[in-house]
Structures are given as C-alpha cells and as structure tokens.
Amino acid sequence: MDNEIKLPQPNEVSYKEKERAMASYFMMFASSTIGLPLPFFNLIASWIFYRYTSKTSQFVRFHSYQSMLSQLPITVFNTVIVFWTFNIVWGNFPMANENDLAPILEGFSSNYIGFAIVTALSNLIYIIFSVIAGAKAYKGRLYYFPYFGNIAFDHAFVNFKEFGKDEYVNTAPKL
C-alpha cells in the first residue's frame, strides 16, 4: 500500500510548506506561554493552525495533524494536574489556622506526586520529539511520532483525496 502512495520528497516541498510544517510544532511554545494557566489553550491554537493550513499541502497536513494529535494527551495530563492542584489548594482553603498547611500537604498524595512526575516527563519527551520533528520538517522530511505518526500518515496520505479531486465533475460521455 505504502509503495503506491507518492510521498513528497524534500526537493519537492516548497520553502513555505517547510516553514508552515515547522511552525506547527514550534507554535505550541508560543501559545503555551500565552495561555499558561490554561493548558488547553495551545490545543485550540493548534487546531486553528491545522484548519487553515491543512488544505495547502499534504506535507503540511501531515505535520500539523501529527502536532495537534500529539498535544492531546499532554493537554489532558496538564489540565488534570492543574485542576487537581487547584482542588487541593482551594479545597482546603481557608485554613483553620494560617500556619496549618497540613491538609494541603496531605492532599499532595503519592498518587498526585506520581501523576505530576509522569506529566512532567511526558511534557519533556513531547518537547524533545517536537523539536526534532520541527527541525526535520524544516528540512522537508517526514518524522513519525510513535502511534500519532501512523494516524497522521493515514490522515494525510492514505485516506486523503487529492486537493480539488472532488471538483472533477466533467467526465467523458458514457458509452
């Protein structure tokens, strides 16, 4: 199946496409800084970017879709940890005595700490993967994340009708 699909090669990808593909990874650094207290902000930004660029080329479509998909679990983790933390801190507020931090400290259970470490590691791995993917995209290369790479590949190349194909309504007369 893969052999039948014609994949864009670096020399066929325009400079603009390379830039857009790279931007799909790097824009999350900017968007997450802007929307720091709201972890889902960068996901929205990513979706908007995908919506407006995915139709320009398959190469950009692949990278922006992969970037958006891979942000999903990270966003979920970050949202959970932010709300969990707020719940612990505000749930035990106001405190009976201003020096009594025990209920808040108790709230930071081992499950919470475990989840926070996994979230931090996931973010780190995600950033590393994104930087590599962004750099590759700038060189006109495809780079596959585990799992998300496969879905994005299917989305951009396998289950994809060429741009404007639906518009071929004029056909030869039927015999």
Binding site: E106, G114, V118, D154
Partner: protein, 270 residues
C-alpha cells in the same frame, strides 16, 4: 491499523506503569521518612528517663496496683498487635483532671486521671492508648524533639546562648502539639491496631464525639486543644471498615466498672 493499536496499547501501558511506579516510589520515600529512627534505642531510653524525671517534677503521679491490673491488661493486648516490638510499652498515671494522654520516648505513655474518668469503657481508653502508641511507632516525639533542638540551636547561636530562652524552648517540646498529618497517621495506626487485637475501632470515634460534646460544655479539655480538627477525624473513623471476619472481644467490664467507680469516688488514688 493493528500496528497503530499496538502502539497505543504500549503508550497507555507505559503511562499507567510509570504512574504506579512513581506513586509507589513517592509513597515509600515518605513512609521511610516517617518511620525513620533518628536515635539509637539506648540513647532513646536515656532521654526517656530524663524526660520522665522532668514530668515527675511537674506532676504528681499515682501508683495503684488495682488500676495497674486493668491498664496492664489493656496495654498487653495492644502490644500483642504490634509486629516490630521495638519497645515494651509502659504507662504512668498522672494525678490531674485533664482529659489527656501523651507518649514520649522508649514506649512511655502518660495517662491523666481525667482521661480514665471520662472514658466510658476499657475499649475507649484502649483506643486513646493505641493512638499514642501510633505516635511512638512513627517516632513523632523524636522528630518534634529534633525540630525543637534545631530551632533552639539556631536561636542559641543568634542570641549568643540565652539560657532562659533555651530552657523555655526545651519545655515547649512537651507542650507543643503534633501536626495534623501526624495525628491522622496515628489515628489510622490506632484503628488498624485495635482491629488486629479484636477491639472495635469505632471506640476511637466515640471518644472523639465524647470530647467534642464535653468541649461544648466548656470544660478545660487539654486533649481537645492539642488534637485539633475533631470533625474530620470522627469522619475518618466512621469511614473505617473492619474486615468481614472481625470478631470483637470485649474487656472484662466488671474490672473496668470497679476502676471507674474508684476513680469517680477518688478512692483508689487516696
């Protein structure tokens, strides 16, 4: 597509196992910190004797063979439920109306007469003693002592060794209370220990409810003041579930009633 699902499964498995692993690591890290011994058994015993003599100089104590029989039987039963057996628990009765009990080092527990007076039955007193044993087993007093010594040292250096200040600070170790987390852990320990030695853990909850009621009648209740947040503690006891095969074995009520009568009429201690 099957490859995609396989990869998804692997990612989910990695996430779940990493979460469990880190939760386990942080749990065991904090558990280690909690039960860590900071002094040897020998030094602990020496320190315990020194503290004992300070307590004897501050309070009158009661030595009554009749009371000892009842209290010994309670402590002996609780001791049976402790696996580590680092200490042989012993008690001293303090002749004071305060509703209180506290533990220091080396398995020494101090029971105020007021606590015996206000306990409805042997199970209730056992639940308070189990809580104090929890503090001993978790080395709470040692940690509090270490913290106070550290503060005293800093202040001693800062003030150029003001002796009065240092001595006041040392006394404050006995007066200060444990933090809420230490209390919560001691409560949990008490409930598990009580269940292990066939005493109904709800006795601890009944005790909390009782001191809360007594507090509303404006009695001077030391125990209540040094053990804050009674409502959430009652709730935790109420939520504790004993095993299905739990079989309660009650203490000899005749013995307890005799002790309670003696205490009430102030006969035993005269």
């Amino acid at each position: 597509m099957s490859r995609t699902y396989r990869q998804l499964l692997v990612l989910v498995a990695i996430f779940i196992s990493a979460w469990f692993a880190f939760s386990y690591i942080s749990q065991s890290y904090f558990a280690d910190k909690e039960t860590k011994t900071i002094i040897s058994l020998e030094s602990e015993e020496k320190l315990a004797s020194a503290i004992h003599s300070i307590i004897l100089s501050e309070f009158d104590t009661i030595n009554s063979p009749a009371a000892n029989i009842v209290l010994d039987s309670i402590l002996l039963r609780l001791q049976k439920g402790i696996d580590s057996a680092r200490y042989t628990y012993n008690f001293t009765i303090i002749d004071n109306e305060q509703l209180n009990a506290f533990a220091t080092l080396g398995g020494r527990i101090y029971i105020f007469k007021g606590l015996i007076e206000h306990s409805d039955n042997a199970e209730m007193l056992a639940s308070v003693l189990a809580h104090e044993i929890g503090h001993i087993e978790h080395h709470d007093f040692e940690n509090r002592l270490a913290k106070n010594i550290a503060i005293s040292t800093v202040i001693a250096v800062a003030t150029g060794g003001n002796e009065t200040l240092i001595s006041e600070l040392s006394k404050s170790v006995l007066g200060s209370s444990y933090d809420r987390q230490q209390e919560a852990h001691a409560d949990k320990f008490a409930m598990q220990l009580l269940e292990k030695v066939n005493i109904d853990p709800s006795a601890l909850g009944v005790f909390f409810i009782k001191i809360k009621r007594l507090d509303n009648s404006n009695l001077d209740l030391e125990y209540f003041q040094s053990h804050p947040n009674t409502d959430s503690r009652i709730e935790k006891v109420a939520n504790y579930r004993v095993d299905d095969d739990f079989n309660e074995i009650k203490f000899d009520s005749l013995q307890w009633n005799a002790l309670a009568d003696w205490v009430k009429n102030d006969v035993i201690f005269q």
